[in-house]
């Protein structure tokens, strides 16, 4: 089985979010970038398929050269090859079209993406990619088994879970559950050394066009101070929740 894992390069979850150039650009200053957490769960599941079922695992990112350390980290975790489509990621549609080209050229059976990236929270690349490839698609996937060309997946739905069966080629939008937190691998020295020698191919984009543009950003209005209520005066809390918040 040939697996392609899509890797989004995102600010670490603890990053302070600021904007520059008149609030039109994300301020990368002092920000540490990581593999998007949803993608890391998928990558780790891909490593399981590699170890147990002899799958090959490539990783791909659509982005400029500054995303390469993130791809190297994926190689250090154990991916075989990395591909970088050399163009800035502009919107979900453009990224999905660029990824579709890579997926088609490579003839992958399974494409694992994250249900959303934690920066723009678009939540659209996996579904668009699946449809562009005319492949089957399972979103918010929390469990995946593949036997031959048959796949069984569990999808998280609002308030529960759904078990689905389908066949390859398949694209999933993955998340935690594909593997557990404790299964995530921190690359060891050997992995890091080996990753330096693994291929990281830079390919030209097909020049897909975006259909949306993120023009401007705004930070939420600063929050007013918390109203502290004495623990011996819980009636006051109930009063506020009822009369002020109108929440009960």
């Amino acid at each position: 089985m040939k697996i392609l894992v899509c890797i989004s390069h995102v600010p670490d979850t603890t990053s302070k979010i600021n904007f520059t150039e008149g609030d039109t650009k994300f301020d990368k200053n002092g920000v540490q970038f990581v593999i998007n957490p949803n993608d890391e769960f998928g990558l780790t599941r891909a490593m399981w398929f590699k170890e147990k079922q002899g799958a090959s695992v490539d990783v791909v990112n659509v982005g400029e050269a500054d995303t390469e350390p993130t791809l190297r980290k994926a190689l250090a975790i154990g991916a075989d090859n990395a591909i970088r489509v050399n163009t800035p990621a502009k919107d979900g549609f453009q990224v999905a079209k660029e990824l579709a080209k890579v997926a088609q050229d490579g003839g992958y059976d399974l494409v694992i993406a994250g249900r959303e990236s934690i920066d723009y929270n678009g939540g659209m690349v996996p579904g668009m990619l699946a449809k562009l490839l005319k492949a089957n698609f399972v979103n918010t996937c929390v469990s995946l088994e593949v036997e031959g060309d048959k796949a069984t997946a569990i999808r998280e739905i609002d308030g529960g879970k759904e078990t689905l069966t389908t066949s390859l080629p398949l694209v999933i939008g993955g998340q935690k559950g594909l593997v557990e937190e404790s299964d995530l691998k921190i690359p060891n020295m050997r992995g890091i050394m080996m990753a330096r020698k693994k291929p990281l191919n830079v390919v030209d984009p097909i020049g897909a066009e975006e259909k949306t543009s993120a023009d401007k950003f705004e930070k939420p209005a600063p929050k007013g101070d918390v109203k502290l209520i004495d623990k011996d005066n819980l009636d006051e809390l109930i009063n506020l929740l009822h009369n002020e918040a109108k929440a009960i």
């Binding site: 939540g123 699946a130 069984t152 529960g160 066949s167 543009s213 993120a214 819980l234």
Partner: protein, 322 residues
């Protein structure tokens, strides 16, 4: 020209989020001088959508669609959009909506903006405000394609009544085998519990509760309030609570009316995921806990004392205000 809105139903019934999507569609239609057409799948009582400004309903009744199927549902919605020559397609942001929207986008060659929190700032260019960076910022996105898809975030625009009379018509899209290549084998969903996605109130517990045996007080409080229960990430990682209750940046998002955090410190990854909730209450014995900076109301105190007392008082309040 019309604005098309997909109205989700479950077992034939609409949900609050569906009315919110309809209300939003009406708002956009008014900006554009257009009318709202809704498409529904195996739903009952379609006339009620008139209350929220829908003037036409395309009702699809088809046994093949009795279980949600993303490809087939997307196909139905895309065909309805073409049928109506809709330039704007509105959906909510339930798990199913998020599943179908990108498929529709490809079917209609349309740009899609998800997590949208307000009516368009302008309709030409078509610019919407949306949540980004997991609620740490807003982003203004312009959709430049001919057809535009908007996913409306839960509890952001609200339900707005706009009495209209809705003409209900049958709609029979053509489906083919490729729409059914992912099959639902089984659904596991508790029907007696409020889900985090639907809940108006969420009661959430953190590591401060010390162990799974202490969750009765969280469940009791949730029951009194008709709330869903949730937890912080370490609590689900340690197996005290199921993963389905994990909320935050890497768990489920919460956009409730009221979020009550008990024994949760308020780490940035936790707050990111719950910040879209309107009101936040924190109960924590450490006055320095970061959650106090994010909350509207705070109680510094021991959860083991405060929560049971609060529950008793709320029961009294509920009894008096029933």
């Amino acid at each position: 020209m019309s604005v098309l809105v997909y109205i989700e139903s479950e077992n034939g019934k609409f949900k609050k989020a569906s009315y919110e999507a309809a209300s939003y569609a009406k708002g956009v239609a008014d900006q554009l001088g257009a009318s709202v057409t809704a498409v529904t799948i195996n739903a009952e009582n379609n006339e009620v959508l008139g209350t929220y400004g829908v003037s036409k309903v395309l009702q699809v009744n088809n046994d093949q669609l009795s279980k949600f199927n993303a490809d087939a549902y997307a196909d139905v919605i895309a065909q309805a959009a073409k049928n109506e020559d809709a330039k704007v397609v509105v959906l909510g942001q339930t798990a199913n909506d998020k599943y179908v929207a990108p498929i529709i986008a490809v079917n209609l060659e349309a740009g899609y903006a998800s997590n949208v929190v307000a009516l368009p700032e302008s309709t030409s260019p078509f610019t919407v405000k949306r949540n980004a960076f997991t609620n740490k910022a807003f982003n203004f996105t312009t959709i430049s394609s001919d057809v535009k898809i908007v996913g409306v975030a839960k509890n952001a625009y609200g339900v707005k009544e706009n009495e209209t009379s809705a003409a209900v018509e049958d709609f029979s899209p053509s489906l083919d085998a490729s729409d059914f290549s992912v099959n639902v084998e089984s659904v596991d969903k508790a029907t007696d519990k409020v889900t985090i996605a639907d809940a108006e109130i969420v009661v959430s517990g953190g590591r401060g509760l010390k162990g799974p045996e202490n969750w009765d007080m969280i469940e009791n409080l949730a029951e009194t309030l008709g709330a869903a229960t949730a937890c912080s990430k370490p609590v689900s990682d340690m197996g005290w609570r199921p993963h389905s209750e994990h909320v935050g940046q890497t768990g489920k998002p919460v956009a409730a009316n009221l979020y009550i955090a008990v024994g949760i410190s308020g780490a940035i990854q936790h707050l990111a995921g719950i910040n879209a909730s309107k009101y936040k209450v924190v109960i924590n014995n450490d006055p320095e806990a970061p959650f106090f900076k994010a909350a509207d109301y705070g109680i510094v105190g021991d959860a083991f004392e405060v929560v049971p007392q609060l529950n008793e008082k709320l029961k009294e309040f509920k009894a008096n205000n029933a």
